[in-house]
Symmetry: C2
Subunit: 133 residues, 2 copies
Amino acid sequence: MPDSLMTIRQMCDAFDVTPRTLRFYEARELIFPERRGQHRLYDRRDRARLTLILRGKRFGFSLEQIRQLLELYEPGPNNRAQIEATISASRERLTDMERQYAELRGAIEELKDQLIESERRLAAITADDETTG
Amino acid sequence: MPDSLMTIRQMCDAFDVTPRTLRFYEARELIFPERRGQHRLYDRRDRARLTLILRGKRFGFSLEQIRQLLELYEPGPNNRAQIEATISASRERLTDMERQYAELRGAIEELKDQLIESERRLAAITADDETTG
DNA sequence: ACCAAAGTTTACGTTCGCGTAAGCGTAACG
DNA sequence: CGTTACGCTTACGCGAACGTAAACTTTGGT
Protein backbone atom coordinates (compact mmCIF):
# COMPACT_ATOMS: atom_id res chain seq x y z
CA MET A 1 0.00 0.00 0.00
CA PRO A 2 1.88 3.03 -1.26
CA ASP A 3 0.87 5.65 1.26
CA SER A 4 1.68 8.30 -1.31
CA LEU A 5 -1.69 7.62 -2.92
CA MET A 6 -4.93 7.30 -0.96
CA THR A 7 -8.49 6.48 -1.93
CA ILE A 8 -11.35 8.76 -1.04
CA ARG A 9 -12.33 6.50 1.85
CA GLN A 10 -8.84 6.49 3.31
CA MET A 11 -8.86 10.25 3.10
CA CYS A 12 -12.21 10.44 4.85
CA ASP A 13 -11.00 8.22 7.68
CA ALA A 14 -7.73 10.13 7.99
CA PHE A 15 -9.26 13.60 8.04
CA ASP A 16 -12.71 12.88 9.42
CA VAL A 17 -14.62 14.31 6.47
CA THR A 18 -17.21 12.80 4.14
CA PRO A 19 -16.71 11.85 0.48
CA ARG A 20 -19.23 14.54 -0.35
CA THR A 21 -16.99 17.11 1.28
CA LEU A 22 -13.90 16.04 -0.68
CA ARG A 23 -15.79 16.07 -3.97
CA PHE A 24 -17.25 19.44 -3.05
CA TYR A 25 -13.80 20.90 -2.38
CA GLU A 26 -12.67 19.50 -5.70
CA ALA A 27 -15.62 21.11 -7.49
CA ARG A 28 -14.61 24.41 -5.88
CA GLU A 29 -11.05 23.80 -7.10
CA LEU A 30 -9.43 23.53 -3.69
CA ILE A 31 -7.91 20.09 -4.34
CA PHE A 32 -7.04 18.23 -7.53
CA PRO A 33 -6.82 14.45 -7.03
CA GLU A 34 -5.66 12.29 -9.91
CA ARG A 35 -8.02 9.96 -11.70
CA ARG A 36 -7.17 6.29 -12.06
CA GLY A 37 -9.99 5.35 -14.37
CA GLN A 38 -13.02 6.96 -12.79
CA HIS A 39 -11.66 6.79 -9.26
CA ARG A 40 -9.98 9.62 -7.39
CA LEU A 41 -6.53 9.19 -5.88
CA TYR A 42 -5.12 11.69 -3.40
CA ASP A 43 -1.39 12.31 -3.02
CA ARG A 44 0.75 14.12 -0.46
CA ARG A 45 0.03 17.48 -1.99
CA ASP A 46 -3.73 16.95 -1.75
CA ARG A 47 -3.37 16.00 1.89
CA ALA A 48 -1.28 19.07 2.65
CA ARG A 49 -3.89 21.25 1.00
CA LEU A 50 -6.73 19.55 2.86
CA THR A 51 -4.94 20.19 6.14
CA LEU A 52 -4.74 23.86 5.29
CA ILE A 53 -8.38 23.91 4.19
CA LEU A 54 -9.65 22.45 7.45
CA ARG A 55 -7.48 24.79 9.47
CA GLY A 56 -8.68 27.77 7.44
CA LYS A 57 -12.25 26.77 8.19
CA ARG A 58 -11.54 26.76 11.91
CA PHE A 59 -10.44 30.38 11.53
CA GLY A 60 -13.72 31.27 9.88
CA PHE A 61 -12.42 31.73 6.34
CA SER A 62 -14.76 31.01 3.44
CA LEU A 63 -13.80 28.32 0.96
CA GLU A 64 -13.14 31.00 -1.62
CA GLN A 65 -10.77 32.83 0.72
CA ILE A 66 -9.05 29.55 1.47
CA ARG A 67 -8.72 28.82 -2.23
CA GLN A 68 -6.94 32.13 -2.72
CA LEU A 69 -4.75 31.44 0.30
CA LEU A 70 -3.76 28.07 -1.13
CA GLU A 71 -2.60 29.76 -4.31
CA LEU A 72 0.01 31.56 -2.22
CA TYR A 73 1.54 28.20 -1.35
CA GLU A 74 1.81 27.07 -4.95
CA PRO A 75 5.19 26.92 -6.68
CA GLY A 76 3.58 29.03 -9.38
CA PRO A 77 5.08 30.26 -12.60
CA ASN A 78 8.52 31.83 -12.23
CA ASN A 79 7.06 34.94 -13.74
CA ARG A 80 8.27 38.01 -11.87
CA ALA A 81 4.89 39.75 -11.89
CA GLN A 82 3.20 36.65 -10.52
CA ILE A 83 5.72 36.30 -7.71
CA GLU A 84 5.37 39.96 -6.83
CA ALA A 85 1.59 39.61 -6.76
CA THR A 86 1.91 36.59 -4.49
CA ILE A 87 4.24 38.47 -2.15
CA SER A 88 1.86 41.40 -2.01
CA ALA A 89 -1.14 39.18 -1.34
CA SER A 90 0.79 37.25 1.31
CA ARG A 91 1.67 40.45 3.12
CA GLU A 92 -1.95 41.57 3.16
CA ARG A 93 -3.12 38.23 4.48
CA LEU A 94 -0.40 38.30 7.11
CA THR A 95 -1.53 41.73 8.27
CA ASP A 96 -5.10 40.49 8.56
CA MET A 97 -4.05 37.42 10.47
CA GLU A 98 -1.83 39.37 12.87
CA ARG A 99 -4.77 41.66 13.58
CA GLN A 100 -7.05 38.70 14.17
CA TYR A 101 -4.35 37.20 16.38
CA ALA A 102 -4.22 40.32 18.53
CA GLU A 103 -8.00 40.55 18.63
CA LEU A 104 -8.24 36.95 19.78
CA ARG A 105 -5.74 37.68 22.56
CA GLY A 106 -7.96 40.55 23.68
CA ALA A 107 -11.05 38.36 23.65
CA ILE A 108 -9.23 35.74 25.72
CA GLU A 109 -8.18 38.32 28.29
CA GLU A 110 -11.72 39.65 28.55
CA LEU A 111 -13.17 36.22 29.09
CA LYS A 112 -10.47 35.54 31.69
CA ASP A 113 -11.46 38.69 33.57
CA GLN A 114 -15.07 37.61 33.38
CA LEU A 115 -14.11 34.21 34.73
CA ILE A 116 -12.26 35.76 37.66
CA GLU A 117 -15.30 37.91 38.39
CA SER A 118 -17.53 34.82 38.44
CA GLU A 119 -15.12 33.06 40.77
CA ARG A 120 -15.18 36.08 43.07
CA ARG A 121 -18.97 36.02 43.17
CA LEU A 122 -19.00 32.31 43.88
CA ALA A 123 -16.54 32.80 46.74
CA ALA A 124 -18.72 35.58 48.14
CA ILE A 125 -21.78 33.36 48.12
CA THR A 126 -19.86 30.52 49.70
CA ALA A 127 -18.63 32.75 52.50
CA ASP A 128 -22.20 33.99 52.93
CA ASP A 129 -23.47 30.41 53.20
CA GLU A 130 -20.95 29.66 55.93
CA THR A 131 -21.90 32.64 58.11
CA THR A 132 -25.64 32.48 57.38
CA GLY A 133 -26.04 28.72 57.34
CA MET B 1 -28.65 63.81 22.02
CA PRO B 2 -28.29 61.43 24.94
CA ASP B 3 -25.72 59.01 23.57
CA SER B 4 -26.94 56.43 26.05
CA LEU B 5 -29.81 55.66 23.68
CA MET B 6 -29.42 55.24 19.92
CA THR B 7 -31.86 54.67 17.10
CA ILE B 8 -31.49 51.75 14.73
CA ARG B 9 -29.99 54.01 12.08
CA GLN B 10 -27.39 55.44 14.41
CA MET B 11 -26.46 51.90 15.34
CA CYS B 12 -26.18 50.90 11.69
CA ASP B 13 -23.90 53.84 10.95
CA ALA B 14 -21.81 53.26 14.05
CA PHE B 15 -21.30 49.52 13.51
CA ASP B 16 -21.64 49.28 9.75
CA VAL B 17 -24.51 46.81 9.76
CA THR B 18 -28.01 46.95 8.24
CA PRO B 19 -31.29 47.35 10.14
CA ARG B 20 -32.17 43.85 8.98
CA THR B 21 -29.10 42.52 10.73
CA LEU B 22 -29.97 44.21 14.04
CA ARG B 23 -33.56 42.98 13.91
CA PHE B 24 -32.28 39.52 13.01
CA TYR B 25 -29.94 39.45 16.01
CA GLU B 26 -32.84 40.53 18.16
CA ALA B 27 -35.03 37.73 16.81
CA ARG B 28 -32.22 35.31 17.68
CA GLU B 29 -32.10 36.84 21.16
CA LEU B 30 -28.59 38.24 20.95
CA ILE B 31 -29.63 41.82 21.77
CA PHE B 32 -32.67 43.27 23.54
CA PRO B 33 -33.27 46.92 22.66
CA GLU B 34 -36.02 48.82 24.50
CA ARG B 35 -39.20 49.87 22.75
CA ARG B 36 -40.25 53.49 22.83
CA GLY B 37 -43.65 53.06 21.22
CA GLN B 38 -42.94 50.81 18.27
CA HIS B 39 -39.38 51.98 17.76
CA ARG B 40 -36.26 50.28 19.02
CA LEU B 41 -33.76 52.10 21.19
CA TYR B 42 -30.31 50.71 21.85
CA ASP B 43 -28.37 51.43 25.03
CA ARG B 44 -24.77 50.92 26.15
CA ARG B 45 -25.36 47.31 26.97
CA ASP B 46 -26.76 46.60 23.50
CA ARG B 47 -23.73 48.23 21.95
CA ALA B 48 -21.34 46.24 24.11
CA ARG B 49 -23.10 43.06 23.08
CA LEU B 50 -23.07 44.01 19.41
CA THR B 51 -19.33 44.62 19.61
CA LEU B 52 -18.87 41.13 21.00
CA ILE B 53 -21.18 39.67 18.37
CA LEU B 54 -19.26 41.19 15.48
CA ARG B 55 -15.96 40.13 16.96
CA GLY B 56 -17.25 36.61 17.48
CA LYS B 57 -18.26 36.49 13.85
CA ARG B 58 -14.75 37.41 12.78
CA PHE B 59 -13.54 34.39 14.71
CA GLY B 60 -15.92 32.14 12.84
CA PHE B 61 -18.40 31.52 15.65
CA SER B 62 -22.03 30.88 14.77
CA LEU B 63 -24.68 33.22 16.14
CA GLU B 64 -25.84 30.47 18.47
CA GLN B 65 -22.32 29.99 19.85
CA ILE B 66 -22.05 33.73 20.28
CA ARG B 67 -25.37 33.85 22.07
CA GLN B 68 -24.11 31.29 24.56
CA LEU B 69 -20.87 33.22 24.94
CA LEU B 70 -22.80 36.40 25.70
CA GLU B 71 -24.59 34.63 28.51
CA LEU B 72 -21.23 34.22 30.22
CA TYR B 73 -20.95 37.99 30.41
CA GLU B 74 -24.36 38.46 32.01
CA PRO B 75 -24.67 39.36 35.70
CA GLY B 76 -26.97 36.37 35.91
CA PRO B 77 -28.88 35.10 38.91
CA ASN B 78 -26.81 34.79 42.04
CA ASN B 79 -27.68 31.15 42.12
CA ARG B 80 -24.64 29.07 43.04
CA ALA B 81 -25.32 26.34 40.48
CA GLN B 82 -25.72 28.94 37.73
CA ILE B 83 -22.45 30.61 38.61
CA GLU B 84 -20.65 27.29 38.72
CA ALA B 85 -22.08 26.38 35.32
CA THR B 86 -20.93 29.72 33.93
CA ILE B 87 -17.44 29.20 35.33
CA SER B 88 -17.25 25.75 33.84
CA ALA B 89 -18.47 26.94 30.44
CA SER B 90 -16.06 29.87 30.52
CA ARG B 91 -13.14 27.55 31.19
CA GLU B 92 -14.08 25.35 28.26
CA ARG B 93 -14.42 28.31 25.93
CA LEU B 94 -11.08 29.64 27.13
CA THR B 95 -9.40 26.35 26.37
CA ASP B 96 -10.85 26.37 22.86
CA MET B 97 -9.77 29.94 22.28
CA GLU B 98 -6.25 29.34 23.55
CA ARG B 99 -5.97 26.40 21.17
CA GLN B 100 -7.23 28.51 18.29
CA TYR B 101 -4.80 31.22 19.33
CA ALA B 102 -1.85 28.85 19.14
CA GLU B 103 -3.08 27.43 15.86
CA LEU B 104 -3.35 30.89 14.37
CA ARG B 105 0.22 31.64 15.46
CA GLY B 106 1.33 28.51 13.60
CA ALA B 107 -0.56 29.52 10.47
CA ILE B 108 1.04 32.95 10.59
CA GLU B 109 4.52 31.47 10.87
CA GLU B 110 3.88 29.16 7.94
CA LEU B 111 2.67 31.98 5.75
CA LYS B 112 5.69 34.02 6.80
CA ASP B 113 8.01 31.20 5.73
CA GLN B 114 6.16 31.03 2.44
CA LEU B 115 6.57 34.77 2.01
CA ILE B 116 10.30 34.58 2.65
CA GLU B 117 10.54 31.80 0.09
CA SER B 118 8.75 33.94 -2.49
CA GLU B 119 11.07 36.85 -1.77
CA ARG B 120 14.05 34.54 -2.24
CA ARG B 121 12.73 33.41 -5.60
CA LEU B 122 12.11 36.99 -6.65
CA ALA B 123 15.65 37.98 -5.64
CA ALA B 124 17.03 35.06 -7.63
CA ILE B 125 15.14 36.14 -10.73
CA THR B 126 16.25 39.73 -10.26
CA ALA B 127 19.87 38.71 -9.95
CA ASP B 128 19.42 36.56 -13.02
CA ASP B 129 18.00 39.52 -14.94
CA GLU B 130 21.01 41.62 -14.01
CA THR B 131 23.59 39.14 -15.20
CA THR B 132 21.59 37.99 -18.22
CA GLY B 133 20.14 41.35 -19.21
C1' DA C 1 -52.49 69.61 7.52
C1' DC C 2 -49.49 67.25 4.56
C1' DC C 3 -45.54 64.93 2.65
C1' DA C 4 -41.28 62.58 2.89
C1' DA C 5 -38.17 60.01 5.75
C1' DA C 6 -37.56 56.51 8.86
C1' DG C 7 -39.14 52.51 11.22
C1' DT C 8 -42.12 48.15 11.66
C1' DT C 9 -43.85 43.49 10.45
C1' DT C 10 -44.34 39.68 7.30
C1' DA C 11 -42.60 36.84 4.13
C1' DC C 12 -40.23 35.12 0.28
C1' DG C 13 -35.37 35.00 -1.99
C1' DT C 14 -30.32 34.04 -1.88
C1' DT C 15 -25.58 32.25 -0.97
C1' DC C 16 -22.63 29.04 1.42
C1' DG C 17 -21.37 24.50 2.77
C1' DC C 18 -22.42 20.65 2.63
C1' DG C 19 -26.37 16.26 3.41
C1' DT C 20 -28.88 12.95 1.12
C1' DA C 21 -31.10 10.23 -2.18
C1' DA C 22 -31.37 8.27 -6.99
C1' DG C 23 -29.38 5.82 -10.46
C1' DC C 24 -25.39 3.95 -12.78
C1' DG C 25 -20.64 1.58 -13.45
C1' DT C 26 -17.30 -1.91 -11.93
C1' DA C 27 -14.63 -4.72 -9.34
C1' DA C 28 -14.14 -8.27 -6.05
C1' DC C 29 -15.93 -12.18 -3.46
C1' DG C 30 -18.19 -16.45 -2.67
C1' DC D 1 -23.04 -15.52 -12.06
C1' DG D 2 -25.29 -12.93 -8.75
C1' DT D 3 -24.75 -9.62 -5.08
C1' DT D 4 -22.29 -6.80 -2.23
C1' DA D 5 -19.32 -2.91 -1.69
C1' DC D 6 -17.37 1.13 -3.22
C1' DG D 7 -17.24 5.03 -6.08
C1' DC D 8 -19.20 8.23 -9.62
C1' DT D 9 -22.52 11.90 -11.27
C1' DT D 10 -26.64 14.55 -10.97
C1' DA D 11 -29.68 16.97 -8.43
C1' DC D 12 -32.71 18.39 -4.96
C1' DG D 13 -32.77 19.69 0.21
C1' DC D 14 -31.45 22.26 4.24
C1' DG D 15 -29.97 25.45 8.07
C1' DA D 16 -27.44 29.70 8.78
C1' DA D 17 -27.30 34.55 8.04
C1' DC D 18 -28.94 37.74 6.16
C1' DG D 19 -31.13 40.58 1.47
C1' DT D 20 -35.11 42.40 -0.47
C1' DA D 21 -39.70 43.63 -1.46
C1' DA D 22 -44.49 44.85 0.07
C1' DA D 23 -47.57 47.18 2.86
C1' DC D 24 -48.40 49.90 6.89
C1' DT D 25 -47.50 53.29 10.85
C1' DT D 26 -45.03 56.93 13.00
C1' DT D 27 -42.50 61.13 13.17
C1' DG D 28 -40.28 65.45 11.85
C1' DG D 29 -40.36 69.43 9.15
C1' DT D 30 -42.71 73.28 6.63
